[in-house]
């Protein structure tokens, strides 16, 4: 019986835990609750993934109202994959959180922070599991509102403006999304994704549906920070508490991407159906992101901002994968979605350790850190190598598939551009490495110690995952391939 209830538990467990955390003003206790809830969510999602891979998609009718009338939860390979990703990172980061938060957030707010974190988690999981376009909006807002708050908690006052900017952009994006949903609903009378997928083709050629698609793509693009819509991201990531940066970078954009994939492929049946050159637009935007953002990243003096811009570039890779409109391309996107979460998770958490000890993440202040905090910097290097795409790390696998997808389409130039842009990653990663390892530390750094084990271990779990899934990526690839197949196969 419990198996059949898994989809709803996936969201309800963190939600209930969040309510509990709000009531109980105790730091350790709420942390335990949050950790337990995240781990439970992870267990549930793993279970779901296994079920889905073995037996096909799971559908769960909320309130037992059948699909187009009630809200449906639908778990297929792709959503299960995203669920696992989100809850796994959520758990790891939660292990890491207490020490880092102690430094970055007022102690009497921490229990509320745990509640927020869980709400965000619930929102993201809800987005990934739902089969209803409007329900997706509701959960999108849950996760957005909580992330605005969490960003706003950053120590630097710029965190406030960053959060506000994100709030404005995020709300505009969500509203665009709802407008698009309204137009789709208008033409079909239904809000269920699968149902839309079957009913939209009849009205595909109408201008309303074209506009709907445009609004939805732009709206989710804002959340996803596709390049011309990215302005909120660098500041938000740079000034948020590190735990939040890590969590958002690793999960929030990924779920937005998931939503985009879901809508574009499951609901619209692929961009081609509409007859808009969406793929070509995405291609151009992706390439601009890959190069522009990487180039900007090179000139950052703050390591967190550097990573934020790098995220933009990496999002470019994912979008690029979509624009190939092929199974391999989508596989590449999904693989990179997973892999990038691992990389950025590890990198941001490593910065969290550094911030804890150093009180700053300015690159110039990190001179000689390689000797003072060997484990942390070691993990940073592993994450950085993965970002570059060195073999034996996950980044290599992503790149491999991406290039293969480009070559399959015969787009030699694009393939070459992918490689070129990853060279930019070499530059910005190496700036940090050089400073940390080959510059003499300043005197006040001599007392620095390695971060405590509760932080270093999660960092290394992620760094290790970068290597593990880079050496042994079959599971990822298999899951991604079946997810891509499900997307292209329509309803999935």
């Amino acid at each position: 019986m419990i198996n059949s209830q898994l989809p709803i538990l996936q969201v309800m467990v963190p939600l209930l835990a969040a309510s509990l955390c709000a009531i109980l003003p105790f730091r350790r206790l709420t942390w335990l609750i949050a950790l337990a809830a995240s781990l439970a969510a992870l267990a549930i999602s793993l279970n779901l993934l296994v079920l889905v891979l073995n037996d096909g998609p799971i559908s769960y009718a909320l309130g037992d109202w059948a699909a187009p009338w009630g809200i449906e939860y639908r778990v297929d390979a792709l959503s299960a994959f995203v669920l696992v990703l989100v809850s796994a990172l959520g758990s790891i980061i939660m292990v890491f959180a207490p020490t880092s938060l102690a430094r970055e957030i007022d102690a009497d707010r921490v229990f509320l922070f745990h509640a927020m974190y869980l709400l965000n988690l619930a929102g993201l999981l809800g987005m990934a599991v739902t089969g209803d376009v409007f329900n997706l909006f509701v959960f999108l807002e849950i996760s957005s509102l909580s992330s605005y708050v969490m960003i706003g908690l950053g120590r630097d006052r710029r965190a406030l403006t960053a959060a506000f900017q994100y709030l404005i952009m995020g709300t505009v994006g969500a509203t665009f999304y709802v407008i698009g949903v309204g137009m789709m609903y208008m033409m079909t009378g239904t809000l269920n994704m699968a149902d839309l997928g079957t009913r939209l083709p009849e009205v595909a050629a109408t201008r309303t549906v074209i506009a709907a698609m445009a609004f939805i793509v732009v709206g989710l693009g804002l959340k996803l920070a596709i390049v011309p819509l990215h302005f909120w991201l660098p500041n938000a990531y740079a000034y948020a508490p590190t735990v939040v940066s890590a969590f958002l970078a690793a999960t929030a954009t990924k779920v937005a991407l998931y939503a985009l994939l879901r809508i574009v492929f499951t609901v619209f049946g692929g961009p081609a159906m509409i007859g808009l050159p969406v793929d070509q637009i995405l291609l151009v935007l992706a390439i601009v992101a890959m190069f522009g953002a990487s180039a900007v990243a090179i000139y950052q003096t703050d390591a967190k901002r550097l990573l934020a811009y790098s995220s933009l570039a990496q999002i470019g890779y994912m979008v690029l994968g979509i624009s190939f409109l092929s199974a391999t391309g989508l596989t590449a996107t999904i693989i990179h979605l997973f892999n990038h979460a691992l990389m950025k998770g590890a990198l941001f958490l490593a910065l969290g350790c550094i911030y804890l000890r150093l009180g700053s993440v300015q690159i110039e202040k990190m001179a000689g850190l390689g000797r003072r905090m060997p484990w942390t910097m070691g993990a940073f290097v592993v994450g950085g190598l993965s970002l570059i795409g060195i073999p034996l790390t996950v980044g290599f696998i992503s790149k491999w598939y991406l290039i293969q997808a480009a070559l399959e389409r015969g787009w030699w130039l694009v393939a070459a551009l992918i490689l070129l842009s990853s060279l930019l990653a070499v530059i910005y990663v190496w700036r940090v490495v050089e400073v940390a390892y080959f510059q003499a530390p300043s005197d006040d750094m001599l007392q620095l110690r390695e971060a405590p084990a509760v932080m270093v271990v999660p960092v290394w779990v992620l760094a290790g995952a970068n290597v593990y899934f880079g050496v042994n990526p079959q599971q990822t690839i298999r899951a991604a391939q079946s997810a891509a197949a499900a997307l292209l196969g329509g309803g999935g």
Partner: protein
């Protein structure tokens, strides 16, 4: 033929754009949130207009009536209104904090302060 029946959608579109313009062009943060509210309100109207059935009444069942407006958009918009006000509340509290931190709620002034302190 079809045009008269679309005019109100166009008015909604115009309304949306007034709000949207305020969001992106005005430098005052409070004004941005106001703009956001107008933008969203217009989106509400869009949904509610599509729910209307000519000659229908409110979707509260009654034996005397047979034509009702579509209840589903109403429900959606109820949710959306609530989400909207939640966003507004958060946005405003951020503004209060920004005012504390910078002494201004004007985009450009904040930028100037930022540039000066770097």
């Amino acid at each position: 033929m079809s045009f008269p029946g679309l005019i109100n959608y166009w008015a909604v579109a115009a309304l949306m754009m007034i709000g949207f313009y305020a969001v992106i062009a005005h430098g005052n943060l409070v004004k941005k949130v106001i703009g956001l509210n107008i933008f969203q309100a217009a989106m509400f109207i869009f949904y509610i207009s599509m729910a209307k059935v000519r000659g229908g009444t409110a979707p509260i069942l009654d034996d005397d009536l047979s034509v009702f407006s579509n209840p589903l958009p109403h429900v959606l918009i109820l949710t959306a209104i609530v989400v909207g006000v939640a966003t507004t509340a958060l946005g405003l509290s951020l503004i209060v904090r920004i005012r504390d931190a910078y002494g201004s709620v004007e985009d450009e002034e904040i930028r100037a302060i930022e540039a000066a302190s770097d």
